[in-house]
Each structure stands twice: as C-alpha cells, then as structure tokens.
C-alpha cells in the first residue's frame, strides 16, 4: 500500500530552476554538461533521474549537493538558493564515500562528529543506523576494505540515516552490484523511506531500478530533460506485474526517443 499523505506532497522541497552547467575546454569552449533543466522534487517523494552515461545526471546532483555551482539558473532548497553543502542534504555516492581509515561505526557517525556530538550519542545513533540497514552489529569495528561491496553501500546508507537529513541525494548508490544484492538494497531503501519519508533524488541508469523506486522518473539525454513519467504504483512493487512492466516500457520508450534524437 502507498502511504503517501497527499496534502504534503505538492510543495517543492528541492527545485531546479533552468539549471545549466557549462564547461569551457580548449577543444570545446562551449560544453554543456546540463542545459536548461527544471524539476521540482516534492516533499517525501522519490524522484529518479534516468539517462545514459554522460548525460549530466551526476552534475545535477553535485549542483544540488552544493559541490558544484550552476553557471545558469539555480537550485533552491526549502526556498533558499543552494550555494554550498548543507546539513539538510545527505549524499550517497556510488562508492559510498566511506573514509577508509575510519571504522564502520566512525564512518556512520561522521556527520555527528562534525557537528561535535558526544561520544556516547555518536555510538548510540551509529548502532541504531547500522541496525536499520540490516548490518550485523559486529561490523562496527571493521574497516571499509574488510567489507563486501554490498555491505559498504549499506554503510553509506547508514551514514545518511545517521545524519537524519530530510533530503537525500543518491548517485547510483547500488551501481556495480549484482542483481540479487541490488534488489535487496532497493527493497531496504523503500522500507527506510516508508519509515522516515525523506525527499529522495535518485540517479540511476537502470530502467528497472527507476521503475522500482520512483514516484516520478525524469529522463535525460544529451544534457537536457526530455520526458517525465509518473509511476503511480504503490511502493513494494512486483517487478513481474503487468503494471510494473508497462511503466518500465514507458521509460524505455522515452529513452529510445532520446537516443534517436541524438
């Protein structure tokens, strides 16, 4: 069952207003990574951006995270323009961005140690976050290189949970994992999302993943937005149901139109 609260979902939490990012290289003085991109991520929704590699998805996410600046337009978070990283936004990148010299527990509670939280609070909240992503408590003292790829992604997820950011930016957080682990992580993300209802902007190049997670899928090609598809299915979706396959097909078709246009 979809547990969305319809009254709250319409306001934009994270808004891209005609965002553009131009790079200037000697070979190509006018290289657009992103061009005239607008999107309003609604409160408590999962929005997926799907597109082929190099279409500007990651650049958009980095602009939203305050790690890069837009050369045109702007990104607004709760009505104020993003001009640098903010604690209200959590970022999960593909490799999880874990610091290899910190144990799992310290990686998870990194955000808390940055704001100066006490040791006991850090430990308590880290243990809770580690439990929420279904990692066994004994991994707390392990270093990232001692974990499998899937476990590392869970740690990355636990870290944003621990920081309790209401907006999560996820850059292919489950990329490069095998199908089974990927599916279980997707399931878990939906489960966590159902509990806290953060606003999520999720980037992927997997059509199935987008159809599995998103309330809305934005399709990108060649640095621009080419289509938007609402996935009005309840969460905890069955990937073999006709409705799911139908949505997946819609996304695939939109992507195909994009690639033909290229």
């Amino acid at each position: 069952m979809d547990t969305r609260e319809p009254t709250e979902t319409q306001s934009g939490v994270l808004e891209f207003e005609s965002v553009g990012r131009r790079f200037s290289t000697p070979a190509r003085p006018d290289l657009w990574a992103v061009r005239d991109f607008s999107l309003s991520c609604r409160l408590g929704e999962i929005t997926c951006i799907v597109g082929p590699s190099g279409c500007g998805k990651t650049t958009l996410l980095r602009i939203a995270a305050g790690l890069e600046t837009a050369t045109e337009g702007r990104v607004k978070l709760h009505d104020s323009t993003v001009c640098g990283p903010s604690r209200g936004v959590g970022l999960v990148s593909q490799e999880g961005g874990l610091l290899p010299w910190l144990t799992v527990e310290r990686n998870v509670s990194l955000g808390l140690s940055i704001v100066g939280a006490g040791r006991s609070e850090r430990r308590k909240r880290a243990a809770r976050a580690i439990g929420r992503v279904h990692l066994p408590p004994e991994v707390s003292g392990s270093f990232p290189h001692e974990l499998s790829g899937g476990m590392r992604r869970r740690v990355g997820l636990a870290r944003v949970l621990c920081s309790e950011a209401p907006v999560l930016l996820m850059d292919e957080p489950f990329g490069g994992l095998d199908e089974q682990i990927r599916r279980s992580l997707q399931k878990q993300l939906v489960e966590l999302w159902t509990q806290d209802r953060p606003t999520i902007l999720f980037i992927t190049h997997s059509i199935e993943e987008a159809a599995m997670l998103a309330d809305r899928v934005v399709i990108m090609s060649m640095a621009t937005r080419i289509a938007e598809i609402e996935v009005d299915l309840p969460h905890r979706r069955d990937p073999l149901s006709p409705e799911f396959l139908e949505h997946q097909l819609k996304i695939r078709q939109a992507l195909l139109v994009g690639s033909e246009r290229d």
Partner: protein, 276 residues
C-alpha cells in the same frame, strides 16, 4: 614461531659476516679481533684510556641528541612544506624544481658551507653566551652539524608528505563537505589522516638518512664527540676496535630507529588493504 624464524633468518648474514671478520682478524694485524670489540662493547660507560674520546654510551647519546634535534626540526618544517607543495599548485611550481635538485645533493656536501654559515655556534652559545661551556650537552649540539641533519631529513619528509597530500581523494573531501565540515575539519578529518601513511614513510626515510648523516658529519674535522668522532679518532691511532664497536652500535641504533618508525607507520596505516 614466526618471531623465532624471523630472528634466525635475519641473523644468518650477520653471523656469516662475523665468521669472515674472525677469519680476517686471525691473519691481519690491523683488523681487531671479535673479542677485543666485544670488550669495548661490554664496557660502554668507561672512556677508552688510549683514545681522546668520551665513552661509547656518551658518544651514542650525543649522536642521538644531534639527530633528534635536526630530525625534529626537519619533521616540523618538512611536513609543513609538504602540505604547502601538496595542497597548492603555486607552491608546487615554486618549490618542486629546487626540491628535486636539492634531493640529489648529499647532505655531507653542505657541511663546509654549513660550518661557514653557523660557525661554532651551538644552542648553549646562543642562549648562555660566554657561559656556554658550563652546559656541556647543549654546547655539543653544533648548529652546523644539526643543519646538515635537517637538510638530509627535510626533503624526503617534504616530498612524501606532498605526495600524500596530493593523493587525497576528492571524493573523501566531498564526503565530509556534504556533512557540513568546515575547512579546518576537512584538514583534520580527511587530509591529515589520509596522508599519514605517506608522512610516516617520509619520516622513516628521513630518520634513516639523519642517522647516516650524523656519523659522516662527526667524522668531519671540527666535531669533538659522538660515534663518528670515535671512529675517526680510532682511525687516527690505529686502534680499530673502537671503530668496530662504534659501527656495531650505529647499526643497532639504526635497527631500533627503523623498528620504531615501522611500528608507527603501521599504527597510522593499518586501515589500508594489504597489497598483494
């Protein structure tokens, strides 16, 4: 088991060398016998009667103090310069060519220059002026020698620190930035721990060089104490057992020094996956 194995395997070469030495001492009038060297080593606190030096232990102490002073100055300045070169492109452009050239010059080559620059000044002569002679230890840490040790250790420390700082992954910096880290926190939570293993490699190499340089610098005329001085004095009068004893002590201290830095390097770098 592995420790015994390590000790046995590690002693193979020294034992062979001892055997060769023994054989040589039997047929040579110059090479001292193992027994006579052991005799010197067994009395580290008594000053040799036939040699114008302090005891072995006092010599080792003064050599170690000189190295400590020069090396700690090199560590402070080298890590600082390394951060500058590693973190700023301008800093790198300005300093890197000089560093590469300087690295190629043996620190000992600078000793005459260092003596001209620093003369006979020591920490004692700077602090206490004419009363310097009352502060025997401080009066022996001649700046000319300390500067040469600094020179020997500074460049490997700076170069390794720089490469450690340059190797810090942008993704790691961004990981703390998005969690709201300030500039200082980015430095303390990412740049510093990430470059720690490289810094310690530099410190270990620097310490090894310092220890080699001190002995060479003490052999140079003008120094009147330390293990190197003992070697040069025993050469003067042809009593080589003191030189051999000093060499053994130099090797032993070098081994301990390297062990300490290996341990420290492991402490700061054990989070890294083992390379195969």
């Amino acid at each position: 088991m592995t420790l015994i194995r390590k000790i046995v395997l590690g002693s193979l070469v020294p034992v062979c060398l001892l055997a060769i030495w023994h054989a040589m001492s039997l047929s040579s009038s110059v090479a001292p016998s193992i027994g006579s060297v052991v005799g010197v080593l067994a009395n580290p606190f008594s000053a040799p009667r036939d040699l114008d030096t302090t005891s072995l232990a006092a010599g080792a102490r003064i050599s170690i103090l000189r190295v400590l002073l020069g090396f700690s100055m090199a560590a402070i300045t080298g890590i600082g310069a390394g951060f500058l070169i590693g973190a700023s492109r301008r800093g790198r452009e300005i300093l890197a060519p000089t560093m590469s050239a300087a690295l190629a010059i043996s620190p000992i080559a600078w000793l005459p220059v260092s003596i001209i620059v620093f003369g006979l000044s020591t920490p004692a002569s700077v602090i206490f002026g004419p009363e310097a002679w009352r502060h025997n230890t401080l009066d022996q840490l001649s700046f000319a020698v300390v500067a040469v040790i600094w020179y020997g250790a500074f460049f490997p420390i700076a170069m390794n620190t720089a490469s450690g700082v340059r190797g810090v992954r942008k993704a790691h910096i961004e990981a703390v930035s998005v969690l709201g880290a300030t500039r200082t926190q980015r430095l303390t939570k990412v740049v510093l721990p990430a470059s720690m293993p490289a810094i310690f490699t530099g410190l270990r190499i620097g310490a090894g060089i310092s220890w080699r340089v001190i002995v060479a610098a003490e052999i140079f005329p003008g120094t009147r104490s330390g293990l190197g001085y003992m070697i040069s004095e025993s050469h003067e009068i042809g009593e080589y057992r003191y030189a051999f004893a000093a060499i053994v002590v130099i090797g032993a201290i070098g081994l301990v020094l390297d062990g300490i830095f290996r341990l420290l390097a492991w402490r700061v770098g054990h989070w890294r996956p083992k390379e195969r």
